[in-house]
């Protein structure tokens, strides 16, 4: 495989290993809970990047995959007593399939219309689930504690889930890299730059972008399943939190869309920034303002995202950190 020769491949493997081993070896739970949120954000950003950065379609409502994955998983585990592994896999596959069908419809829209329609999809699903009694309606689904016992107790279960989330994170990044270096990725880039031209050049745009949409749903759905399993419950506002969706766009753009490294760094920094501001005492009332100001400063002075800025000051980086 040519992929194995890419420096970035090994970097991804390394970062994933660090995520897994650091809290494990030091048995540091705070670190784990901090990293789990980073990992989730990285998963969301990396997969969203397949749409925004690679295909050029801004998905405002990407969180819908995450939420549906969470719901399906908790429903299967909670009400049907499935094991976690099979539940998240089924959730991933079904959400991905659903995205494919949905994509056939809404990917005919372009630009801001697509972006805003995805908000509509997310809100429609959220409101539907709020009314859907099989999934507990607005009360959501709460996992009985026995679900953790089946995995050797809460303590062990949460470690397992953490490692799985890190694995999904690693897979998301490798997927980003693999797509980027493939013929499929080249087709997506062409669509991003000019869809009409791409079609005339022979790219099957309707199929390609629907595949990208569907692909970008798979791992977030699994991550949603794991994350909400860890939380022990899922309710509509948390599962389909539009704001988190928009924050995911912020992470992608902050790091630099279209690259593999950018969204990862963007997600990590964004989570750390918000998390740190929350725990610094004196700032309590103003942490949001400070986060906003910092974000604005970054945007104004590094408008190409962090990667754009890094590439500019150190062009050779482009070859290593794609």
């Amino acid at each position: 495989m040519k992929l194995l020769k890419a420096p970035l491949f090994w970097l991804i493997v390394g970062v994933t290993a660090i995520f897994a081993l650091l809290p494990l070896l030091s048995n540091n739970i705070t670190l784990r809970e901090t990293l789990v949120l980073s990992a989730i954000y990285i998963i969301l950003a990396a997969n969203l990047n397949l749409m925004i950065g690679y295909t050029g379609y801004v998905n405002f409502g990407s969180i819908v995959f995450f939420g549906l994955g969470g719901y399906l998983t908790l429903w299967l585990v909670g009400s049907h007593h499935w094991g976690l592994y099979s539940a998240v896999l089924v959730a991933g596959v079904s959400v991905s399939a659903l995205a494919f069908l949905l994509g056939i419809g809404i990917l005919r829209l372009r630009g801001a219309y697509f972006a805003l329609a995805t908000i509509g999809v997310n809100e429609a699903v959220k409101d539907f689930v709020s009314n859907f009694d099989v999934w507990g309606g607005s009360e959501g689904i709460f996992l009985p504690f026995t679900a953790y016992k089946a995995m050797g107790g809460a303590g062990k279960a949460l470690w397992t889930v953490y490692l799985l989330i890190v694995l999904v994170m690693g897979s998301s990044l490798l997927l980003s890299l693999a797509v980027r270096r493939s013929k499929f990725g080249l087709g997506l880039f062409a669509i991003r730059e000019d869809e009409d031209a791409a079609v005339v050049l022979g790219v099957k745009a309707p199929l390609y972008k629907t595949l990208a949409y569907s692909l970008s749903a798979f791992l977030p759905a699994i991550a949603g399943g794991l994350y909400f399993f860890k939380n022990g419950s899922v309710v509509p506002e948390e599962a389909f939190n539009l704001n988190l969706s928009i924050e995911a766009i912020v992470m992608v753009m902050l790091g630099g869309q279209g690259t593999v490294t950018g969204p990862t760094i963007g997600a990590f920094l964004y989570e750390r920034l918000r998390g740190m501001l929350l725990t610094i005492p004196g700032l309590s009332n103003f942490h949001m303002v400070i986060a906003g100001v910092l974000l604005l400063l970054i945007i104004l002075f590094a408008p190409g995202g962090l990667m754009g800025w890094l590439y500019r000051i150190w062009p050779r980086l482009r070859r290593v950190l794609e």
Binding site: G187, V200, L201, P206
Partner: protein, 253 residues
Amino acid sequence: MKPAILEVRNVTKAFGGLIAVKDVSLTQYQGEILGLIGPNGAGKTTLFNVINGVYKPTSGEVIFEGQKISGLPPYEVVRRGLARTHQIVKPLNEMTVLENVTVGACFGPQNLPLEAAQEVAAEVIEFTGLGKYADVLAGKLNIALKKRLEVARALAAKPRLLLLDEVLAGLNPSEVAKMLDVIRAIRDQGISILMIEHIMQAIMSLSDRIVVLNFGEKLAEGSPDEVANDPQVIEAYLGDPEMAKRILEEEEA
């Protein structure tokens, strides 16, 4: 006579009330360079768009190598061996020239894997004289280079028929002459060419036959000489080709 590669049969294309192409039929033979001229807004580009599937004809059909292609989406049309360039260039701005051309090679009729496509792209780039720009982002090229990029991308697909829409616009006479050599070389590879052009010396010297459109309808068809001397064509399109010379003489007098 050689067999036909492309047949346009009674094609009409309307946008709302406006009929841009009206009942046009034409035939292109294998290995031929066929010129398409006509006043601005005559429907030339629209006809191209119908041929390669960007638009569905309102009525009529397009036959390529004996098979009906009208109604197929553009990506299917390319895969059958019919590539085109755009009058209003459409470079993939944030991708390099090499990547642009690779897209053409990758998704064309040969459906090459990525690496093979890159090799083909590199060859085509040399052939079209874009060699030193291979790693430049396409958005950074000037208009003339972008036009050349259009040609390179279409060529990389290894089509059997190539549609060229005003690829000479914006070139000065010497550059036009160089580009004519490139086009002839393409034809010598056995690729048939259908081209739209407003630069008369060029199209007259290059084409085997010429079709003239006016207000969406076919006004004339024939060899360059026949067309150039057709009074209808002169009135609607050519005007007085000797004007420049006349003005020059006036000034000097």
